[in-house]
C-alpha cells in the first residue's frame, strides 16, 4: 500500500537524454500502466522506480519517504524500497527449482524455514503452479515460467509490484488468460502495480490509470477511458485504439465563444464548455484543424434514418471478420473507416447513409497537433450527439 511520487526525473545515458522531466504520481492501489512505443523511456522509468537505474536529476518518494534525491546523490537500495519486479525475460535462475526461485528473497530476509515454506506455497498457489515446485525453469512452458516469475515477485508481499512487459513473450491466447490473472491479482492483493507495455489493449483493459510516453516524456496521464476518448495529441490518438481513429481534415473558426468546424461532413458548432482553452489556436480567423472520429462511432443505414447528423456516403470496401465488419466509406473525397458489430454485407460502391455524432468527435489544431475540443465520453453521450 503506497503512494509513489516521481518529480522532475531526468536520466541520461552518456549524451542520450532518455527521460525528460518525468512527473508522475501513483496513488495507493493504482494499476498504473506506462504505455508507449519501444524506446520511449517507459522501461527506464520503471527501472528508476525499482532502483536499478539512478537518474541524474529529480526526486522520488514512497509514502512521503524520500527514496531518490539526485541532487544529494541519495539513492536507496532497491531491496529497501519494498517493491518487487517481474522482468520481461522472467529472469528465472536456471540453476534453481521453482521453489528455490521463489524462496530466494525470503531466505535473504532470513525468515524461518517453515515460514518460507508457507509463504512460497501461498505464492505458488495464488499463481496455480504449486505442482511444479520441484521443476527447473527449463522444464516449464513459457506461460508457466511467467507464473513462476510473478510468484517470485509477490512472495515477499511487496507494497509495489513492477511488471516490465510481462506478457510480450506469450502467445495470443495465453496473453488473454494472464491478463485476467493479473487483474485478479491486483484486486485480491490490493498491491499498487506499475505495468510497462507497448500494447494499448493491455493498457486499456487492465489499468486504472495510463501514463502515455513519447520520446522520453510523459505526454498524457489519464484513465483508460479518458485516454481513449480524448487523446491529447494526434500521435496519441493514432496510437490508441484498433482499428485506428479516422482523421478528417477540416477548417475551424473560433469567435471567442464557440468553435465552428467545417468538413466534408458539414458544419458543426461546439459550445464554449467543450473546448480545451489552455491550448493555442487562432481567434477570429480560419485555421486548419483535424476531426478525430472513432470507427465504432459511425452508424451505417441503407435507408435514410432521418437523423439530424445523417450524411450520404458510398461503400469503398467491406471486410467482414466474424464478430465485426470493417467498412471503408467515402464522403466526397474524404475516406474513413467504420466498424459494425457482427457480419454485415455491403456491395462495393453501394450508397448508404451514415449517422455521425459530432459531440463524440475530437478536434485537433493541425498546426500544433494538440487536442482543442473534448469528446463526450460514451456513457454521457446522448443519442442526439
Amino acid at each position: 500500500m503506497s503512494k509513489i511520487v516521481l518529480s522532475h526525473i531526468d536520466k541520461f545515458y552518456g549524451e542520450n537524454h532518455v527521460l525528460r522531466d518525468i512527473n508522475l504520481t501513483i496513488e495507493d492501489g493504482d494499476f498504473m500502466t506506462l504505455l508507449g512505443p519501444s524506446g520511449c523511456g517507459k522501461t527506464t522509468t520503471l527501472r528508476v522506480v525499482s532502483g536499478l537505474e539512478k537518474p541524474q536529476h529529480g526526486t522520488m518518494t514512497i509514502d512521503d519517504r524520500p527514496v531518490i534525491d539526485a541532487d544529494k546523490a541519495f539513492y536507496e537500495a532497491p531491496s529497501k524500497r519494498g517493491l518487487n519486479l517481474v522482468f520481461q525475460s522472467y529472469a528465472l535462475w536456471p540453476h534453481m527449482t521453482v521453489f528455490q526461485n521463489v524462496a530466494f528473497g525470503l531466505k535473504i530476509k532470513k525468515l524461518k524455514k517453515a515460514e518460507i515454506e508457507e509463504t512460497v506455497m501461498r505464492a505458488l498457489k495464488t499463481m496455480r503452479i504449486e505442482e511444479y515446485r520441484n521443476r527447473y525453469p527449463n522444464e516449464l512452458s513459457g506461460g508457466q515460467q511467467q507464473r513462476v516469475a510473478i510468484a517470485r515477485a509477490i512472495a515477499s508481499s511487496p507494497k509495489l509490484l513492477l511488471l516490465d512487459e510481462p506478457l510480450s513473450n506469450l502467445d495470443a491466447r495465453l496473453r488473454i488468460d494472464m491478463r485476467a490473472e493479473l487483474k485478479r491479482l491486483h484486486k485480491e492483493t490490493g498491491t499498487t502495480i506499475i505495468y510497462v507495455t507497448h500494447d494499448q489493449v493491455e493498457a486499456l483493459t487492465m489499468s486504472t490509470k495510463i501514463a502515455l510516453f513519447k520520446e522520453g516524456e510523459i505526454s498524457q496521464i489519464d484513465t483508460p477511458l479518458g485516454l481513449y476518448t480524448n487523446p491529447i495529441d494526434l500521435q496519441a490518438a493514432d496510437f490508441i485504439g484498433t482499428p485506428r481513429i479516422n482523421f478528417i481534415d477540416a477548417t475551424g473558426y473560433y469567435d471567442g465563444d464557440t468553435l465552428k468546424v467545417t468538413s466534408a461532413f458539414g458544419e458543426y458548432v461546439y459550445p464554449h464548455e467543450t473546448l480545451k482553452l489552455d491550448e493555442t489556436f487562432p481567434k477570429g480567423e480560419e485555421f486548419a484543424c483535424v476531426l478525430g472520429l472513432r470507427p465504432e462511432m459511425v452508424d451505417i443505414y441503407t435507408q435514410d434514418p432521418h437523423h439530424k447528423n445523417t450524411v450520404p456516403a458510398e461503400v469503398y470496401a467491406n471486410q467482414p471478420a466474424g464478430s465485426e465488419t470493417l467498412v471503408t466509406l467515402t464522403v466526397g473525397n474524404t475516406e474513413f473507416l467504420a466498424i459494425q458489430v457482427g457480419l454485415v454485407e455491403y456491395d462495393m460502391n453501394q450508397n448508404v447513409f451514415v449517422v455521425l455524432h459530432p459531440g463524440r468527435m475530437n478536434v485537433y489544431n493541425k498546426e500544433t497537433g494538440r487536442l482543442i475540443k473534448f469528446a463526450k465520453t460514451k456513457h454521457k453521450a446522448g443519442i442526439e450527439d
Binding site: 536499478l52 541524474q56 532497491p78 531491496s79
Partner: protein
C-alpha cells in the same frame, strides 16, 4: 560529458558524502578499482620499466656502455644501447661486403629480414592451406568427415617445438651433436640448407599455424547461411562463381585476421627458430634477442629487440583492426543460418580426401611416430633394428647406459625429470587456476561495464599482453625483476607471474564469453530480492559460470603446460625447469632420446586434458 540542458548540481557536503558512499559501498566498484590497479602494476609498469631500461646503465652493462658512451656510471641515463645498435659506426662496412659487412646488418637487419621471410612464407602457405581445409570440412560433402574433424586439430596440440624435435629426428645431420637423423642414417645425404634454417623453420611452423586460419575460417563458414549461396545458384552462377563472389568475400575478414595472426605469431616464435636455426647461426629476431639478453652486458639491447617485436606485433594487429574494424569477433558475419546444404565435390572428392589424409599423416602421425621411435633408439639415426632399440631413455639407470652419450639416467629414474614434472604440474595448476579465476572477474567487469569507461579500460589493458610475443613478454619481467626484485630472478614465483599475466587476454576472453551468457537481469532479479554483490556472485553468477570456468581452466592448463617460448629466458635456475624446458635443454645437450620421451609425455598430457575440456564444452579453438 556534456549534457545538453543539464547542470551538475552544486557539490554539497551531503552530496559528497552520498556520492562517496555510493562508490565505496558497492563492492563491484572496489573490485574494478583493484583490478585496474593490478593491471597497471602487472602490465603497464613492466612495459615502462623495460623502455626505461634501454636508457639506463647498470652495473652489469657499465663496461659495455662506456665503450659507446665514455664516462657513464651505473645508474646513469644514457642512450648507449641505442647507439650500440644504431650508432653511426654500425653503418660502416668492414671489408668489401657492402651492407652485409656492417654491424647493423648482423645485429639487426639480418635477423629482421629472416623473421620477415619466415613470417611471409609461413603465412602464404598456411593461410590458404587452413582456409581450404576449413572449406572442405564445413561446406562440402567430403567423406569420413567425422574422423577427420576429430584428427584435424591434433597437430596444433602438439607443441611446435616438439615438431621441431621431430623434424630433427628425420633430417638431422652429424653437425648436430654428432648424431644422424633417420635419413642420414639410411645413407641419404641431407643438405644442411634443408635440415636447418629457413626451410625447416617454415615447414614446421606451417604444420602448426595452419590451425589459425582453419579455426577462424571454419567459424566464419559455419555462420554463413547457405541460402546466400543458394540464391547465387538461382541467379545462375556456377560453383566457382559462387565461391569467388559470395563465399570468399564473406569469409574474407576471417582470412585477413588469420593472416595477421599468423604473421605476428610466426615472427614471435622462439623455440622452433632456436632449435632449427641456431645450429647454423640462422638468427631471427626472437633468437637474436635471447642472444643479447643472455649477457648482462647487452641485456638493454635485448630490450630494444623486445620493443621492436612488440611494435611489429602491435602494428600488424592494429592493421587488422583498421581493416576489419572489430577486435574481438573475428568472424564478422552474424545471422542464424544454421541450415547448410553441402556442396557436392563430385570427382574431386577422393583426391581431396587423399590430400587431407596425407596432411594428417605428415602433421600428426609422422611427428609422433618419429618421436616415439627415436626415444627407443640407442643411437639416433641408426635405424629401428632390435639391437638399436632400448627402453633406456624411459626407464634406464645411469649404470646401465648403453653408451657414454647417455650422461643422464632414463626419465623414470631421473630426479630431474620428476622435479620438472612436479614444477610443470605446480605451474600449470596454480597458474591456470589463478588465470581462470581472474579471467572470470575480468570477463565480469568487461561485460557488465561494456560501454563504460572502466569496462573499456580493463579491456584495453588486458589486451596488451596479447600483443607481445612470449619471449619479449618474459624479457620485460626479467628486466623488472633484475632491477627491483633481484630475489625473484630465477624464482618459481616469477615464472608463475609471467605465465599468469601472459594468459590474461585469453582467460578474460573466455571469462567474458562465459559471463555474456549470464543475463544481467538474472542478477538484477537477485538485487531486487535483496541480494548484495557477494551474495549475487555466490548464489547466481558462480553456479551458472561453473561449466565455462572449468573449460577455461583446463584450456589455460594445457597452454601453460606446453609453454616454452614464454619461460625459456626465465629458466636461469635448474630447480625451476619445467618439462618443456627440460626437453628443450636435453635436446641441446645431445640427449635427443630423452628429450623426445618428454615431448611424448607432454603431448599425451595435452591430449588427455583436451579430451576432458571437450566434455565441459571447451575447445582448443578457444585457446589461441
Amino acid at each position: 560529458m556534456a549534457k545538453k540542458g543539464w547542470k551538475r548540481p552544486p557539490m554539497t557536503k551531503e552530496r559528497f558524502k552520498n556520492s562517496f558512499l555510493n562508490v565505496v559501498g558497492n563492492p563491484f566498484n572496489v573490485i574494478v578499482l583493484i583490478t585496474l590497479l593490478m593491471l597497471f602494476v602487472f602490465i603497464v609498469i613492466p612495459l615502462i620499466t623495460m623502455v626505461l631500461n634501454t636508457f639506463t646503465v647498470t652495473r652489469g652493462s657499465a663496461d659495455m656502455a662506456r665503450r659507446v658512451d665514455p664516462g657513464v656510471n651505473p645508474g646513469d641515463y644514457s642512450i648507449w644501447a641505442w647507439k650500440f645498435l644504431f650508432g653511426a659506426n654500425n653503418f660502416v662496412s668492414s671489408g668489401s661486403m657492402g651492407l652485409r659487412g656492417t654491424q647493423i646488418y648482423t645485429n639487426l637487419l639480418e635477423p629482421l629480414f629472416h623473421s620477415l621471410t619466415v613470417g611471409f612464407f609461413v603465412t602464404i602457405i598456411s593461410v590458404p592451406l587452413g582456409a581450404l581445409m576449413a572449406w572442405l570440412m564445413v561446406r562440402t560433402d567430403l567423406p569420413a568427415k567425422g574422423l577427420l574433424s576429430a584428427l584435424i586439430l591434433i597437430p596444433y596440440m602438439i607443441p611446435s617445438w616438439c615438431k621441431a624435435l621431430s623434424w630433427l629426428t628425420v633430417f638431422r645431420t652429424p653437425k648436430y651433436g654428432g648424431y644422424y637423423g633417420l635419413l642420414t642414417g639410411l645413407g641419404v645425404p641431407v643438405p644442411e640448407w634443408l635440415a636447418y634454417g629457413p626451410i625447416a623453420i617454415i615447414l614446421v611452423m606451417v604444420l602448426h599455424y595452419y590451425a589459425f586460419s582453419y579455426i577462424m575460417v571454419s567459424g566464419a563458414l559455419r555462420s554463413i547461411n547457405s541460402e546466400l549461396e543458394e540464391m547465387g545458384e538461382i541467379q545462375g552462377a556456377n560453383k566457382l562463381q559462387i565461391l569467388k563472389s559470395i563465399t570468399l568475400p564473406l569469409v574474407l575478414p576471417s582470412i585477413l585476421s588469420a593472416t595477421i595472426m599468423t604473421i605476428s605469431k610466426s615472427i614471435g616464435t622462439y623455440g622452433v627458430a632456436a632449435r632449427l636455426g641456431n645450429t647454423i647461426q640462422y638468427y631471427v629476431l626472437a633468437t637474436k634477442m635471447k642472444y643479447f639478453l643472455e649477457s648482462q652486458q647487452t641485456a638493454a639491447v635485448g630490450y630494444i629487440f623486445s620493443m621492436l617485436m612488440i611494435a611489429l606485433a602491435a602494428g600488424t594487429i592494429l592493421i587488422n583492426q583498421k581493416l576489419i574494424g572489430t577486435r574481438k569477433s573475428y568472424a564478422t558475419i552474424g545471422g542464424k543460418g544454421t541450415r547448410s546444404n553441402l556442396i557436392p565435390l563430385g570427382g574431386a572428392k577422393w583426391p581431396m580426401l587423399i590430400f587431407l589424409t596425407i596432411f594428417i599423416i605428415v602433421a600428426m602421425f609422422m611427428p609422433l611416430f618419429f618421436l616415439v621411435m627415436e626415444s627407443f633408439q640407442i643411437i639416433p639415426g641408426k635405424g629401428y633394428r632390435p639391437d638399436n632399440l632400448t627402453l633406456y631413455a624411459w626407464i634406464g639407470a645411469l649404470e646401465n647406459a648403453p653408451n657414454e652419450q647417455f650422461n643422464q639416467p632414463g626419465l623414470f629414474q631421473n630426479p630431474e625429470f620428476f622435479r620438472s614434472l612436479w614444477n610443470t604440474v605446480k605451474l600449470s595448476v596454480i597458474g591456470s587456476l589463478v588465470t581462470a579465476v581472474f579471467g572470470q572477474f575480468f570477463g565480469y567487469i568487461t561485460t557488465r561495464g561494456r560501454g563504460k569507461w572502466y569496462g573499456n579500460a580493463v579491456e584495453q589493458l588486458i589486451f596488451i599482453p596479447y600483443l607481445m610475443p612470449g619471449v619479449a613478454f618474459a624479457a620485460i619481467y626479467y628486466s623488472l625483476a633484475s632491477n627491483y626484485a633481484p630475489i625473484l630472478v630465477g624464482s618459481f614465483t616469477l615464472v608463475l607471474i609471467v605465465s599468469i599475466v601472459k594468459h590474461f587476454p585469453f582467460a578474460s576472453r573466455s571469462g567474458s564469453s562465459n559471463m555474456m551468457q549470464i543475463s544481467v537481469e538474472l542478477e538484477e532479479a537477485a538485487t531486487i530480492n535483496g541480494a548484495g554483490f557477494w551474495r549475487r556472485i555466490l548464489s547466481i553468477v558462480i553456479p551458472l559460470a561453473k561449466g565455462g570456468f572449468l573449460s577455461g581452466f583446463l584450456l589455460s592448463f594445457i597452454s601453460i603446460a606446453k609453454e616454452l617460448d614464454l619461460i625459456a629466458i626465465l629458466m636461469t635456475n635448474q630447480d625451476n625447469y619445467t618439462l618443456s624446458f627440460l626437453s628443450f635443454n636435453y635436446s641441446k645437450e645431445a640427449m635427443p632420446q630423452v628429450a623426445d620421451a618428454i615431448c611424448i609425455i607432454i603431448i599425451a598430457f595435452i591430449l588427455i586434458t583436451n579430451r576432458i575440456a571437450d566434455k565441459f564444452g571447451g575447445n582448443v579453438s578457444k585457446s589461441m
